[in-house]
């Protein structure tokens, strides 16, 4: 089922969103192509993917994806900006007219930031992370620092969710009040309420905490209370110790009460009464990870996680990995993990080895993953995949890549997937008009580097 958002643009569906994309394209053209001296700046990225794949019933598909995100800053005032992110898919080979295209608006909002008190107002489709909230909302989000180290945030609107069949109106709102002693601790109290068809769908209250009492000791976590069931749904806390010389220890303690945690879902997957999982079960998770930086280029880590259920028994997941990375031009990794559930059906061993090398403007990657199931699935115990990828940096702002993935698993005897990827970065703020026309942002800035997801070493890979 499609998103039931009430904002007019979403109500009118794909056509309206395509129109928005068209308007966006026009906006981009008007901003990038002319050599304007306007203070307005535009930064963003276009990623185009062409993927060849096969579905479980043997149907071959050739979808073309366009992911576009951009930020228009300094709109009139330096403190006003517009953020946009979304994607379109067009199936080139298969599919009837109704299913050939689809799209999603990830976020699109106008943002105002005040120069004092970290006051911020966002209006549009926004992603809210505030205490118990981790929600996409079509509405308003406001945040400000108060006097005496207090802070306040609030949001409200229509929840942007997928897969809901619940009819009627829906709304979501919430708030978080925080107090901090900078550098020492921060504590937050948060509240969230979501209604569907004028009935309570979610009502959550929470406490979040971050404490650093002394150097090399950091405790953080969150407890959430299900106010509809009047019970704590989950507690999740991390204790980080170190670094001690080259060693860092990270301890996780989590408790989840299934009955109170899996509420307010829009998917039947999490209706545990229809699954083999007992909906009244509770799980305690204790985990430990020791990371050792052996040299500037080599890191080793060991991790262990123990699951103790009130009803289902016990399980554990443990293993280790070793990674090598040098000057972001060459790297390799090896990891071994074991999942040990209560029965053979819940056991597997996972092996992974990868390597990458950058030579000049060219990057080459190889990645092999093998999963050995303790009990065969569709008569297959050994599932593996081998991926080869290569990319060429056409210019500082444009990169062309391709990858091939061959795999054998319980669903496919032989599965071959390919993908071609073209990324284009544009940034008029940093590069001036001439460079903007070439779409060339400055290399090496933190903004650019952090536009890429983190590596396992926490290091953004160059060129993404």
């Amino acid at each position: 089922m499609r998103n039931q958002s009430r904002l007019p643009i979403f109500r009118y569906g794909p056509l309206a969103i395509r129109t928005v994309f068209t308007v966006v394209a026009v906006l981009l053209s008007s901003l990038v192509i002319p050599a304007t001296s306007s203070a307005v700046s535009l930064t963003g990225e276009s990623s185009t993917y062409l993927q060849s794949r096969q579905t479980g019933d043997g149907t071959k598909e050739l979808p073309l994806y366009e992911y576009l995100n951009f930020s228009v800053s300094d709109l009139g005032k330096e403190s006003i900006s517009f953020q946009f992110g979304g994607w379109l898919r067009y199936e080139l080979k298969n599919g009837d007219a109704d299913h050939r295209t689809t799209n999603d608006l990830s976020y699109a909002y106008l943002s105002y930031r005040n120069s004092v008190a970290n006051t911020m107002v966002n209006v549009g489709r926004i992603l809210v992370f505030e205490g118990v909230a981790s929600d996409r909302v079509d509405g308003v989000y406001v945040k400000t620092d108060l006097k005496h180290n207090f802070g306040l945030s609030a949001y409200g609107g229509m929840p942007a969710e997928t897969g809901t069949d619940l009819a009627g109106n829906k709304n979501i709102y919430g708030t978080r009040l925080s107090y901090q002693s900078p550098g020492l601790y921060q504590i937050g109290l948060s509240y969230l309420k979501e209604e569907k068809n004028s009935e309570q769908f979610r009502k959550e209250e929470g406490v979040d905490l971050w404490v650093k009492p002394v150097a090399k000791v950091e405790l953080m976590g969150k407890s959430r209370y299900n106010a509809i069931n009047s019970a704590w749904s989950d507690h999740s806390y991390f204790l980080v110790l170190g670094p001690f010389s080259k060693l860092r220890l990270s301890t996780e303690a989590t408790q989840i009460n299934y009955k109170d945690y899996f509420t307010g879902t829009t998917s039947s997957v999490f209706d545990l009464s229809k699954s083999s999982i007992d909906p009244n079960d509770k799980v305690r998770i204790l985990g430990e990870e020791a990371a050792f930086k052996a040299t500037d280029t080599v890191s080793v880590s060991l991790d262990y996680k123990a699951y103790t259920y009130e009803i289902a028994g016990k399980a554990s997941y443990y293993g280790g990995k070793i990674a090598y990375s040098s000057a972001r031009t060459v790297g390799a990794g090896l990891s071994l993990h074991k999942m040990a559930g209560e029965t053979n059906k819940l056991k597997y061993d996972e092996y992974r080895i990868y390597g990458f090398r950058k030579i000049g403007h060219t990057e080459v990657t190889v990645d092999a993953l093998d999963v050995k199931y303790a009990e065969a699935i569709n008569d297959v115990k050994d599932a593996y995949s081998l991926t080869l990828a290569a990319a060429y940096e056409i210019s500082p702002s444009m990169k062309l890549g391709a990858d091939v993935e061959y795999s054998k698993n319980p669903d496919f005897d032989k599965d071959l997937r390919t993908m071609i990827k073209l990324t284009y970065l544009f940034d008029t703020a940093k590069t001036g008009n001439k460079a903007a026309a070439q779409g060339a942002p400055k290399a090496g800035t933190i903004q650019q580097a952090m536009a890429a997801p983190l590596t396992e070493q926490g290091k953004p890979k160059e060129g993404n």
Partner: protein
């Protein structure tokens, strides 16, 4: 009746807003963008001594990043673009993050390889780990089997 309730709600909000405005701190806001260019991965503690010092992006930071985001999303935005979050925290994406970044195997991304079968085991061991991403969002493909 409902409209009246909404109007009353707005009227009650006005004095609350007034109180908030009066109570607002007068300290300078944090920078919208990081003022200093940083090469490579950030070790925030090299310069910062307040809460930001804890945001060193160490190897295990990915597992803990949610705690920092829920307390101070603005700090994340100094360096990260919103698309950085939505690459994984998607509403109804069709491409797995690990498919988008196959050329970056060192990234810690979920669902590599044959995850279709693996998820049947992981989902039973810890279904709560699936819930934050698939409980209310990005679950259209789940319906293909979970009807």
């Amino acid at each position: 009746m409902r409209n009246m309730t909404i109007k009353l709600g707005f009227l009650l909000l006005l004095p609350v807003l007034a109180v908030v405005l009066v109570a607002c701190a007068q300290t300078a806001s944090m920078a919208a963008r990081h003022p200093v260019e940083v090469e490579g991965w950030p070790v925030c503690s090299e310069c910062h001594t307040d809460g930001r010092a804890a945001m060193d992006h160490t190897a295990d930071f990915g597992k803990r990043h949610k705690f920092y985001a829920q307390q101070n999303q603005q700090a994340c935005g100094i360096c990260h673009k919103e698309s950085f979050c939505s690459d994984c925290h998607a509403n109804k994406d069709e491409l797995k993050p690990s498919d988008k970044y196959k050329d970056s195997p060192e990234m810690s991304l979920p669902h590599r390889g044959d995850y279709l079968n693996q998820h049947k085991i992981d989902g039973k061991i810890n279904p709560a780990a699936c819930f934050p991403c698939h409980g209310r969002q990005n679950n259209e493909r789940c319906k293909a089997c979970h009807r």
